[in-house]
Amino acid sequence: MEPISIADEVSSRVVQPLLKIEGNTIRVEGAQLPLYSGSIDYWQIPLENWSKVLDRIIGLGFRIISTAVPWNVHEVASDLFDFGTTDKQRDIEGFLTLCRQKGLYVTVRPGPCVNAELNYYGFPKRVLYDPEIQAVSAYGTKVIIPATPTPFPMPSYASEKFYDEVSKFFDAICPIFARHLTPAGPIIGVQIDNELPLLFMNGPFSADYSSHALRWYHEFLASKYPSIGALNRAYRTRYATFTDIEPPRALATTEREAIPRYLDWMEFQEYYVGLALSVLASLLWSRGIRGVITFHNTRSTFPSLPLNISKTEKELDLQGAGLYLKMPRYDELRRGALYLSTVSRLPFLAEGGMGTWPWGPSLTKSEQQFALVVALMHGIRGFNTHMLVNRNRWIGSPISESAAIDDQQYTFLKRFLTILGNLQLHTLQRNVPVILLRNFEYERLHALCKNNNWLTDLIDIPSELLLTNRTFSYTETIQKAYPALWNAFYWGLTSSKIPFGIGDTDMDRPALSQYQALFLPTFDFMSEDLQKKIVEYVVRGGTAIIGPEVPYLGSDMRGCTILSDSAKLQAPSSRRPLVGLHDPFTLKKDDVRVGNRVAGSMKAHGKGTFIYLGITLPPTLSRDDAVDAENVVSQSLKHLKLAPVGDVQNPSVDEVYWGTRSPQVIFLLNPTNEPQSVSVKVAQRNLLRDGWTGEQLPQRGPQEIALNAYDFRIFEVVR
């Protein structure tokens, strides 16, 4: 076979029409199917049990399964593949046929990385030890993934030889897949690779410095800057060509003028992940795997950069997340669900954890159930129960390899799927008037300034210690001030009970305009494009709450005052007094005060409003210390007359009302370890029916509901 040209592969792929995703469902063979599925790995389930196990899955109510198709399971010798000819256990075609016979749809996961607790995460060892394929660290070493039982060198996803090798596997497997694509067969989706950002797990300068990756780096720079002159202007350099540019290998500056080069290196990692997924999708597409949903998975529920959902969903249909969190980490889960449900085409947990890998988090069954309910409560609309069926190196699935069931998990899932079906949750929307934006420009700076890696976790060194406190001549240490203010906004909004979503600065302006107000921490610099986007958002009627700085620099750290010029916003000369506990904070038009501790201003602009908050809030780490943050948030939104949803008397309980005109489904959840009670607001004529038990509450109208620690209730509103 001719060597693969990555550029040719990518450019030849026509973007697939996304006809298969409708709302929060997939349209398959004329039916709208919620994306609820479960993982079963056929190669680990005794052949004689396949049928029994699939029947158990059907008994739960699932219509879709997901299965890994690992490269190193099917490659029995170099470039020699077995799909059931010598070992029936590897008969993927037989498995797909059986699924079709039983009326199950399938999403396949051909990797090339599948993890699946396999040695080398499913890569053939020979591929990983080919020096032409290995990723390279800033120090010129291999990039070792600390996997159990055997660590291994990570491949460079920029290596053409790597894709040559992947192509050989895809050449072998894709004809089988192609024969089984819906409607001829059961395959409706392909998960492409797994947790690709793992390559960058060891910090901002961990990878990839291979010659292949540097070629991608130079291509990225050439695509970002219209000319080498433009780059030189931003970098304050005199490079003759893009290929002359050396990537940074450590944070070796204290000057803000040098920062653009570093921020580009961080953005390049997002580009790298997106391009790698795009190449892999193209390899499948060119081998006939078309018209199915493509997706990728990341382990984290609230993904951090370089996993950039806007970028990965440009290449694939969906970017899924993982779900392995204990109850005390409820808010991480909530943030993830709020974020995915805002930015993703179909908010989907590609690994909704049921059970765990042996060395993973020791989640109890109750914790796993709790997490799944929380995810759906806050907007997740598709999930893949992972693993639905136990296998080697996995513990605690609802179904065993021999089709025995774990009563507690099996009964829960069966009931949960029934409830989701009864409530038609995937069809319900809710009014979300406010969005809190993650500012990726500062998150890149934050990631750049972090130096933690798997080793620091092992030594128990807190990541806060390793975050550099250089200011780079900015007004303050943005990498610390940004997350602090973002958290304050998050907790303030949470306590206000005004429904909000979490988005990011890569969202386009029309998407932002669905919200009446946005919160965005802003500091000294902000790219020209982002400044324009925010101005445009306000001109068209939005309220943008920004601060504590009005940006005066662009991403090249040269003067850029689009935002301040447009809105005539100016920071007060003596800025940002700390808002003290319970201090009055009342914003009036054009108000910028320091002496009486209000430092903000409200300016009409176009059809909308700018609210500039020139303040610093006290550290806000939970809803318990969100008094000031809530005060600021409420005052900032006052002119919009947004009504809180739920019982404002008890900010400790989370309530989500689904249904746009009037609530149809109400989730209540107590994320604390203390009992709570909450007043549920429904119209006098309405009754509440417990979604879990089916029991109807005796009284009509508002109800007082008691919740135990980490307890949840789901109610259907009956008219």
Partner: protein, 263 residues
């Protein structure tokens, strides 16, 4: 040498047993807090208190690392002070990635990191009081490594932990030539039902079932959940085991000769 076989299997592990076992692993909680310092040359560039957060007031010049960790431990009334030179962890990571060999298992790879860090103790990495290091996650791995190395290279090991005559956690481990080949639990014995009136005597039927279904056990370790938790927190585990055997709170049966001499 590898301690985990490349083809090791984990199956039929009862989820609740596994969760119970993992949850017994002691995680040190510091009541007075731990102070972490980052330094460069002779200046503390960052200070983080595990209970109070960032402490900018503690940054600035110092005389010697050992003096400053000792002084701050006393002055701040913390359980320990850990001080790390800027760039050390990145340097260590590069070092172990360069030293990695394909035949290594994860425990050997972690050992590389442990060796690297020990070399730096007192040089670019400082812990005060020194014994605090024994409470770290890192040292937990050392304990696992020590425990595995103490066991005979070929063993069928049965662990049964009881709570009011119910099996609260179980683990069956098969090791061949020093490498773990199989991790499972009493779930593998199903449909065998284990009736326990007195675990101190009825554990024998568990051993019998393992023999019939899997292989003849060469070591069995049985105790109750409370004693097991105490054991994991003990600073002198061998002495604790010896004492608990006398009172019947721990039963080791059979006892491999290699182990008998140690307890």
């Amino acid at each position: 040498m590898r301690r985990i076989a490349e083809n090791y299997r984990v199956f039929d592990v009862a989820a609740t047993h596994w969760t119970n076992l993992l949850n017994t692993i002691p995680h040190f909680f510091s009541e007075r807090g731990v102070l972490y310092l980052r330094y460069q040359s002779s200046e503390i560039t960052q200070a983080f208190h595990s209970l109070q957060g960032i402490r900018p007031d503690l940054t600035g010049p110092f005389s010697t690392p050992i003096t400053v960790v000792q002084q701050l431990q006393q002055r701040e009334d913390v359980d320990a002070v850990i001080m790390v030179e800027e760039g050390l962890v990145v340097y260590l990571l590069a070092k172990i990635q360069a030293a990695f060999k394909p035949e290594m298992d994860i425990l050997q790879y972690i050992e590389l990191a442990q060796e690297g860090l020990k070399e730096e103790l007192g040089r670019r990495f400082h812990v005060w009081p020194e014994e605090f290091w024994g409470k770290s996650t890192f040292s937990l791995f050392e304990r696992v490594q020590t425990l595995l190395d103490a066991l005979p290279p070929n063993i069928v090991f049965v662990l049964g932990i009881f709570e009011e005559n119910q099996i609260w956690a179980s683990l069956i481990l098969l090791r061949v030539d020093g490498q773990i080949r199989l991790i499972t639990s009493t779930k593998i014995l199903e449909p065998f039902e284990f009736e326990i009136k007195e675990w101190q005597t009825d554990y024998r039927s568990l051993l019998k079932a393992v023999k019939e279904k899997l292989a003849e056990p060469t070591m069995g370790f049985f105790t109750d959940d409370e004693t097991f938790r105490f054991l994991l927190r003990s600073d002198t585990p061998l002495a604790f085991i010896a004492q608990a055997r006398k009172t019947g709170q721990i039963i080791i049966d059979p006892v491999p000769s290699r182990i008998r001499s140690r307890i």
